[in-house]
Assembly symmetry: D2
Homo-oligomer: 432 residues x 4
């Protein structure tokens, strides 16, 4: 126990982002081959983004291998600077590999409607009756618990925590590069090798040599660009709105005893709010898409319509929305209602916001972010935005975006004057 178990020959995965993912450890190999980890192949990394960027079809499996590989390389670089025990290294590698293992299909939308947090499921998978738990316990009975703490950011070795959860960690670095690669959007590129070269381990977290500041700036800019160009793209959000409405409608119908043509067996635990780990693990994107296919044949016109929209990518249009214009929203709801378009499902404000970089400010715990620290030639540590004007310029500035979503086709199909009136309100006189 607690002994390294090395494969007798290194295994590799061909990876377009990191060229190869290298596995030398039997534990890692077994974790990758566990049922719970393989399940991540059936969950897309970018949720509904493939409706906007058709290349963004890669899975969380794909990304999780990438984070593991980056973590492995970071540890390799640290080898001669800091002495980590085998357990500490394995914690890092496992955290890289498993940090997303609790994600479900279309997490964003599904979690909102069914009210859970994927983080809780990650913990459940690590600690519960799973193949992963059994593999981890082979190392040490305490190991799953420690790993859960690392992923939950409560582990007491802050260096390890910062490698997987900080503003410049293995997770973020991999997803920016990977999502950029698959979508074909250049913005996510930054000099990963340079960043790995200037990363230095310290007792309570990683820091970056000042000489590499520009590479760090570049990373922050990439992150900023990817958020606004890809992750928050309004079409992607439109698909999420439709998705939420589907779940919302199905939930309501179920609670009202609606007679589904075929019982949605795999979703029952969620609809009844009695989800056990095995139910959660059986859920993936194919389940959701299967029910959409079935439901597009249901009698309920709203469920039927929404599922068809998602499957055929007939999404909602959007206009900019001023969040203080309560009256407009209220009036539009009324107009929609009168026109026979249920605003509960067909009129939705979607809000998103991003804080590209922040440093800790005393007394603002709700947003407690670990700042990025630069290691000066003098040995002194200085917070990034003190040195970089560019980072300073965007630091701590949360940017919001509000959009109002609705099915323009339904509005267009209304009698002329009603349609016109609503479209005037929406500001979409001409077809978008």
């Amino acid at each position: 126990m607690q002994q390294p178990q090395l494969l007798h020959e290194e295994k590799v995965f061909k990876d377009p982002v990191h060229r190869y993912v290298h596995v030398r450890d039997q534990f890692i190999w077994d974790l990758i081959n566990s049922a719970e980890f393989q399940r991540l192949r059936r969950i897309k990394q970018l949720g509904t983004s493939y409706f906007t960027f058709h290349g963004g079809e890669h899975s969380r499996f794909n990304h999780s291998l990438g984070v593991y590989e980056l973590m492995r390389r970071i540890l390799e670089k640290f080898e001669e600077r800091i002495k980590l025990t085998y357990e500490e290294k394995l914690l890092c590698l496992c955290a890289g590999l498993l940090h997303d293992v609790g994600h479900g299909p279309f997490s964003h939308s599904f979690e909102k409607v069914f009210r859970y947090h994927h983080e809780d499921w990650t913990r459940a998978i690590l600690l519960g009756d799973t193949q992963i738990n059994r593999i981890l316990r082979r190392f040490d009975d305490d190991f799953p618990k420690k790993l859960a703490e690392v992923i939950n950011k409560t582990y007491d070795n802050k260096l390890i925590v910062s490698l997987i959860s900080s503003q410049l960690d293995a997770d973020r670095m991999d997803y920016l590069l990977r999502d950029a690669y698959y979508t074909g959007v250049n913005y996510g590129n930054f000099e990963i090798e340079r960043i790995l070269r200037v990363m230095r381990p310290q007792e309570d977290g990683i820091v970056f040599k000042f000489s590499g500041m520009h590479a760090v700036e570049d990373y922050i800019m990439s992150r900023y660009q990817m958020y606004w160009q890809v992750y928050f793209h309004p079409v992607t959000r439109s698909a999420e709105v439709v998705l939420r409405k589907i779940f919302q409608r199905a939930k309501l119908l179920f609670s009202e005893g609606y007679p589904f043509t075929q019982e949605p067996v795999m979703l029952l635990p969620f609809l009844q709010d009695k989800v056990e780990l095995k139910d959660y693990l059986a859920l993936d994107e194919s389940i959701i898409l299967f029910y959409m296919q079935q439901w597009r044949g249901e009698a309920d016109p709203i469920l039927k319509d929404l599922c068809g929209r998602f499957l055929d990518r007939n999404l909602y249009k959007y206009v900019e929305y001023n969040p203080r214009d309560f009256r407009l929203l209220a009036e539009l709801k009324e107009e929609f209602q009168k026109a026979g378009i249920d605003p509960m499902y067909y009129l939705e404000v979607d809000t998103t916001s991003d804080l590209p970089y922040d440093f800790y400010r005393a007394g603002e715990e709700e947003e407690e972010r670990i700042p990025i620290m630069l290691l000066m030639p003098t040995g002194e540590l200085v917070e990034l935005s003190q040195k970089s004007e560019i980072v300073k310029a965007i630091s701590g500035k949360r940017r919001f975006d509000y959009k109002l979503y609705f099915p323009l086709d339904k509005v267009m199909a209304l009698p002329g004057n009603i349609s016109r009136k609503i479209r005037e309100r929406l500001g979409v006189m001409e077809d978008a």
Copy 2:
């Protein structure tokens, strides 16, 4: 009718392989947005290859856009060399976009077991009661039929046919580049821009300027490499074997009246061999994966086991197999049977073969391939292998690969001496 219908502003899709896919034509735009085309998002381009190359998760939607874009670029290059009518150009573009629209989930395995050809479904989609048919007919009532002929290679304009179906066509060029990009395997790269530059339209097909011969050689080599490195990878084929066995088992159980816990509604038409177009269109990978999830809970031990294997990537191992060694196979079947491992499902020879390049030989119609012709400075046309020693070396040489697949874990779990005996036969004394 028969008039170009241009979008008032060009639309683009960001594409990692061709940078952008450009759409200027209302017909194309509407076809992309049709339900039948959007369905291709739910079918992977490379079937089970993602089990070997985790990056290969892209869809047929992704590839179809790419073929369309290459076709568009080819036509642009031809603009000043040949006068094509708008209808001819639209035929080319639509053929590029829609040539794969009849593909179903995991086509290779599914088609084999349920005995159909996706080509027939393509035709049915073009000619039947579909959104695509209605859009195509907006151009001309005859247009769907012509398009079906182009895709079926029976259209009388051989130039148009050769652009989508020859040994160096828009389809093959896109998939080599695209599959290489997503899997991260370099072998598929070749100088696409150079090939486009040396392509010349002729009455009965495309030819290539002699000065570009090396680029054509390079393409042939890429094709050869991708086949053996990626498309025929033994692990990918292992997943296909398991998949076929699942379908085979489900079909048998159904025919025997096995009481499925929940009726596999969406598969009934296939199990009953009464498939209509709407049934086919409702089928995609999520349906297949959904039933696997359900079936892994079924009582039938074989169906249950096979589905778990596929979902958790617990695939069969393989050994080289000499196709003439009938006795070995017969004996192994017997041993498996005796040991309680049904050889019908757990012992399978998989054969694959590739003919990287061939030219037409009189009297060998069954393999009628259009040769690649080089346009010499003198104006003469010469078949590629006459000029290229490398192509000559591989031309017409079909290469076969035979492998014997079986679940090593099941064999290992047998009593020691039985296990050992079988493994000796298989030649896998040590764990692979």
Copy 3:
């Protein structure tokens, strides 16, 4: 005259940055083949940067073709938005191709010492007795003059001027991409195709669709990064300091009648300050490097030492320098003098500064920069920094960098206590 003269077949250059450079015009083809343009092959694009980034060995010929190609693509994009005459288009293409034709070897350093501006030589080449002038006049007698005005930014068509000389022009776009490619530094990458797509011609310059703002931001950031990471790299500047000192010393020796072993024939016009166009055109980097080889054998110890340093890359070391610390500099000069190290050649403050983006401010003509304008969906034009917080953050902020250069080896070779005293002053107690 004034008629397009097309090549009977398009010619291409293989280009690693833009894939191909396309030439269809006889004028362009002839200009490329002129002696004055071919001369640019013997002048490096990045001057002394190859001492820092060994990949940065590409020539101005290389870059000039790239600017031409970008210009050609921009005009292609503009084709359907604005009607330009053939003369206007040719002016753009020629400006792209020839804007740098007046550059000499190691321009930065050489110009400073011999006091001229390469812009004047560009004009001289366009208007003087050159092959280029004769080719341009084939189009129209006035054409060379108009072209000189475009390059000099005095031409009255501001759109044309802005394509080659603005904060986001074909020149800057090419060099950022190209220098990034050859040096291997990622920072210079940005989404060139996206920028070309959102560029719109207007009467008095180019503007950019608001929807492409992030691509423009990304370009500005790339520019900022390339300046500080590559163009202003302290080692590159060290080589420039040495170079200036060589020219300065040679000039002084010549003026004092120093007996050079062999008369530096090709440099005489410069040393005598009587340079004619033919003398200038005969000058390239091989001439400079040749004389360094000769001079490293001269008797004058300073010239000999400096040339050896440059050829063998034995450059000066540097420390940060506070420009207000006059006393330090004065004292160091004295110390150097006393120690027998001539401070005129061996102690130099080098200053550099960058203004990554600026907009016009009334009354500040000395720095008159054309701002980047965004074209809003409403048709309104808004200056970039009004919309982009990131650009606003760096807009108009000139950043300075001061470094003090000296040969550490010479200081180290001084007697112990003197050496130590000087190094204490310099703050380089340990070997850098």
Copy 4:
């Protein structure tokens, strides 16, 4: 002595091909900074190829660093498979770095005319009175000699020799990748990381795991393509023909006592055939180009003309040539002579040939090549072409190319009927 001297911090060079070149060893660092190695910055890797591919302007310095880095990575991979002494490793690294150190400017042409071998100069630099020799001797007095043997392929450790001189060595791998990168030609790409992964050290050389055969095939094909697409490009060879003629003419004029306007001091040792190491080391491309500039002003019409041609890239045209058609050549020479165009300088057959892969055949020592061996799963070694049909197809087949070069402009300028007659003979009735 014989102790590793590590830098106290690793140094890196940014490299576009290998991302970074890593240096940890003081010896390597000092060798890179030696005058003789820095000289390689002034010699282009691809000679006259930049006239064809403008991107191919990189130096031998650039390539030498790359070979060193590949060698370093190979040794890293070997670390756990074979125990090499520090001296052995250093021999490998130094061989990688210094194998080309004896190259001069435009080696191919210069060596032919002045009859020497750069290999001899490499040995002279390693063993003579140079900075490099002094650095190498710091390790051990015998070290320069051993290194010279390694580079000369006479060293008794065949593994070390094969790493730098075999059909798949660090030198070839770097130049294919590097030349492909700089010229922008894709053909040179192959999966370097895969090849490094399947390379295995054996006592008498490196072998490659059979599972990596396709990567090796791909490398052989890349090599084949680069030779015919890039290295043997007829325009590049045209420049070499002109270059040889310049040297030939200058040599003749010198031997005849022609009064050069200024004595070509730096070339005297070559013209007098009394070259010492210091003379050779002073020679680089700037020297050659300098004299061309001077000589284009000379009175001798041939020297003047040839130098202008090279500098202004006004090269010779070419036609295919049948080497057995002696009469044609004889007649053309006569025609040229009669027309006043000296055939000695203006009519030249250039021959090139390539043997893309070969294996040793008993009794054919003149072409003794070490074959590429595959390591089978059984442990057996099999020669590559036994397993690869593609390699077999090209193995041992030397391909020749003959071209006849001449200045078409001079022929065109002849009186009509004479010009026509010569052009008919040459087969260039229309302007190429």
